[in-house]
Amino acid sequence: MFALLVIVPLLAAALLALPLKRFPNIVKYIAFAASLVSLLLAYLVFSYGPFTTQSFNWFSANGISFNISIATLPLNMLLLMVVSLITPLVFLYSLGFMEVPSEQPRFFFEMSIFAASMMLFAISANFITMFIAWEMLGITSYLLIGFWYHKEHAPTAARKAITTILIGDIFMLAAILIIGTTYGTFGFSAIMGSPSSPALYVALSFILIAAFTKSAQFPFHEWLSDAMEGPTPVSAFLHSSTMVKAGVFLIAVLFPLYVKADMLGIILVIGLVSAILGATNALTERHIKKILAYSTIEDLGLMFVALGLGSVMAAMMLFFVQAFYKALLFMGAGYIMKANDEKEDIYSTYGSSTRKLVFLSIVIAAVSLAGLFPMSGFFGKDAVNSVASNMVVYSMLLLIGFASSIYIFRWLFIPLRKSYESGTEININYKSTPRSMLIPMFILAALVFVADYAYLKLPGFLNGSYSIALLSAVVGNVIAVIGIIVAYRVYMKGFRAKLSSTNKMLFNVLYSSRAVNAVYLYIVGVTMAFARAVSAFDFSFDKSIYGLARSVITSGNGLRKIVNGQTNSYVFAFVLGIMFLIVLYVLA
């Protein structure tokens, strides 16, 4: 039955690939209906499905079997739940968001493929299955980022994403093949029990690189902010709540191996660095979606921190709750952008609180991101904070928490502080936002609350333990509130203007995006320079062979001079020839 989870969206995609130009409207509803069916299926799996693994042979070669194997172990169920809940909401949102009829079939086709591969990824139980899903995620992400290829930066952004992800893919494939060769099996559970070996270290570090590329961790994190060139539903779906978490999820699945290989330290460090970079960039970025993208990098970094600290439980807590508020924030961003004629700079967009319920939903999401009780975000962040045994790490986490409550309210306040006349175009835009865009936001806002439930259920579900330490919770909340107040004072009340002259240097320190991009460009430049050198060699190699050939040909010019047209010299050659024969005979 799990197979249906994957098959339903795939079927939808297949239907969408058919030329349905005659029924432009039907297209999007097919996709939406399929996502609802998936949700139903996921619910059935959840309610009745036992924790099992199924596998069947895909192909086998010379005794090595390549199986498709799927499982509904707790971790799988967790991701499955997130995916199946978010998918219909995003599809619903897209019904309103994607207005251009000609784009709809392609959009829903790619989204359905993505949904299918995400489902497959969620329930994959061996490396082969996982890799198929993994690559499909990368490719659909690439296609969706570059969806609006007519935009100036979209193709570049898509290329950046696929290049980074390709690096990860190849490392992943290498790791899988190394593991498969070493252990003769690709199954997760079989490898967990196997003894460690030197090859395993290599493979695990390759997988880590792959996970870092997919989950946008330092030093591979810059693609995610560029990925915001894609349509907003894509950002809400792929680049915040599902696909980018594949890396974290994979490391969580393989967690025992990392413990065995003693590689948690590196995960912790990278996670922390990424979280800091994400937070600082989010503080200084002006692009309405990129702020959220950096925030996603920060959240993913925090998940890695939790893993690095040895707690799958904490990582999964954040993993679960983050999906809802981040998807909601992105939908909010899309809502604001749509009203502002696709303007992206928070300083030139106008916020609105006219639609109270929508506004409230966005505030709920922001508060949740800031980590305030009783929003679900609190439980996620607190889970990470509470496993920080090290004081340095803990203080850094608090600092990041402080920063995140500042930047998210900066994101909220700056568009909001500007007033506009009612009856202007923006007002009309806000008023005329399609209902299908708003309903999922309400649902998500409700889910942000309901996700608190995870606190009660998740520990038992994952066989872990997690409890709230009162002190840490209070400290976290206080810091978040202070952050909100600071943000209110600075951004809402306009203190920022006074700060602006002094914070230039601070800005440069915090906004690392440009520097990272410069490093990327430098690496590309070096590679290209090397490539040009190789190419020059290739060219000269070709030329030198050509020269050699030429010299053989021109040697004919020298040799032809023997034939000079003079009969007497021919006779002379004849005589020489006889002498030559004599010499030959003597030698022989």
Partner: protein, 477 residues
């Protein structure tokens, strides 16, 4: 038992004769029908092979008249799993080439004749059971492609054609020398591949090494792998679309198939495998780097051929059942993928009268099918799962890791470089916004049909690999 190979070759010869005799008007129809039937026969051959493989060791052989009886050379065809896969690929690729490769619809008669002649050579070569026949078909194929480049190529075809024929005939002469040496060094003086395989040990070790290195260099030129790859980019750039499709799709497989034969016939190869693997790995990276500085779409794809064939050589050099299987599978996959990419780039060249990635922009705005087929071709080249190349790559690198431990995985990273640049091409020219360049022509139905046939096979062998792998069920070296 139906002599399928014989029928295929006979049919192709008849088709060739008919095409030569008939008017230009009918030549495309006749040759397309002939190659379609040949393709169906190839599928039938697969079926017969699979039906037979259940009980027997899984090879089909057909014997015809003696060609030169003094040398015991008969028209002797043997179908083994490797050759079966390649015959299938060659017949499909030739059919699509025939059907849709001639984008401009010019020179129909000449192109039909040459494609049929090449198909004849390719199928004969892959099916040949003795080295002499192998050699003959090899040269016929090379000459057919020489004329295809020269007669139907673009402006600078002269240089490209002469380079092509010099390199390829050098390979063929080395091959000739090697098979003559083999002949005189086997106890019963034989060209028969299975006989040589069984009796290699009676050849003195030094001679074995000599023969192997002759074979190796001949096939290295054809595959092509650094340092003898220089003919390929030029040949591709200048050849017509059909020429490029057959060149990369099928001709380079001559070398790959020959290399597999050489390894199987002369197990002394085992002593050279580390060197060969290093060379192949180096070549993959080398080609990937050179690829990154190219601007002509066809030239870029030409260099991907070098990368892919180097990886095939990595698989062969692993010299295990798995490695050979992987190499075969990769060649099968590569044949479909690369000929599709060349068909697409030919179509793009036709649409824009230009193939420079710096000036071609926004293919997707003009032809969605062309653009997304190109993209799928890129996936199929970089070995994305569910395309056939993935299976090949996986098998090759598992074999390589088994043989060379972790170092075996290194050449995999050349795909990373290649893929990164291919995506760059996609985003620069295919999925990008249109500005200056306007299409001159529009893509025809036959091209779309060609795309879909090749896509079908790419995904068929990617999603259901067991179809092709089951022919290897009794295969081991």
């Amino acid at each position: 038992m139906i002599p399928i190979i014989g029928i295929m070759l006979l049919l192709l010869s008849i088709g060739l004769a008919v095409t030569i005799v008939f008017n230009e008007k009918y030549s495309k129809v006749i040759s397309t029908v002939v190659s379609l039937i040949v393709m169906e026969l190839a599928i039938l051959l697969l079926y017969v092979f699979l039906a037979g493989a259940a009980g027997s060791p899984g090879s089909i052989s057909e014997n015809y008249m003696y060609y030169i009886s003094n040398f015991g050379i008969s028209l002797n065809f043997v179908v083994n799993p490797v050759s079966l896969a390649l015959i299938l690929m060659a017949s499909v690729v030739s059919f699509v080439t025939m059907l849709s490769g001639n984008v401009e619809n010019e020179n129909l008669k000449v192109s039909s004749i040459l494609v049929l002649l090449f198909e004849l050579a390719a199928i004969g070569l892959f099916a040949s059971g003795n080295l002499f026949i192998f050699f003959i078909f090899w040269d016929v194929g090379v000459v057919a492609l020489f004329f295809m480049i020269y007669l139907l190529g673009s402006a600078n075809r002269r240089m490209a054609a002469i380079k092509f024929i010099m390199y390829e005939l050098l390979a063929s002469l080395l091959l000739l020398f090697a098979i003559m040496l083999i002949y005189f060094n086997t106890p019963l003086h034989s060209f028969d591949i299975s006989y040589i395989t069984a009796n290699y040990s009676s050849i003195p070790v030094g001679t074995q090494a000599l023969i192997f290195s002759l074979f190796f260099f001949a096939f290295l030129i054809n595959m092509p792998v650094f340092p003898v790859h220089l003919w390929l980019p030029d040949a591709h750039t200048e050849a017509s679309t059909q020429g490029s499709m057959l060149l990369s799709g099928v001709l380079t497989k001559f070398g790959g198939y020959g290399m597999i034969l050489a390894f199987i016939m002369l197990p002394i190869a085992n002593e050279f495998t580390p060197v060969i693997a290093i060379l192949a790995g180096f070549s993959a990276f080398y080609a990937a780097f050179v690829l990154m500085t190219q601007h002509d779409i066809k030239r870029i794809i030409a260099y991907t051929t070098i990368v892919e064939m180097s990886i095939v050589l990595v698989g062969i050099s692993a010299f295990s059942t798995l490695g050979i299987m992987g190499a075969t599978y990769a060649m099968l996959a590569h044949g479909f993928a690369i000929s599709m990419l060349f068909l697409v780039s030919g179509t793009i060249g036709y649409m824009f009268s230009d193939r420079d990635i710096r000036s071609v922009k926004g293919v997707v705005r003009n032809s969605i099918s062309t653009a997304y087929t190109f993209l799928t071709g890129v996936f199929a080249t970089t070995g994305v799962p569910l395309t056939a190349a993935f299976v090949g790559d996986v098998l090759i690198f598992i074999a390589a890791i088994q043989k060379f431990s972790l170092y075996g995985a290194i050449p995999l990273f050349s795909i990373m470089l290649m893929g990164a640049f291919l995506y760059y091409v996609v985003n620069k020219s295919i999925l990008s916004t249109k500005d200056a360049s306007k299409p001159v022509e529009y893509v025809g139905t036959s091209q779309r049909v060609g795309f879909s046939i090749l896509l079908f096979f790419i995904f068929l062998f990617g999603v259901l690999p067991f179809i092709a792998l089951s022919i290897f069920s009794n295969f081991s070296i």
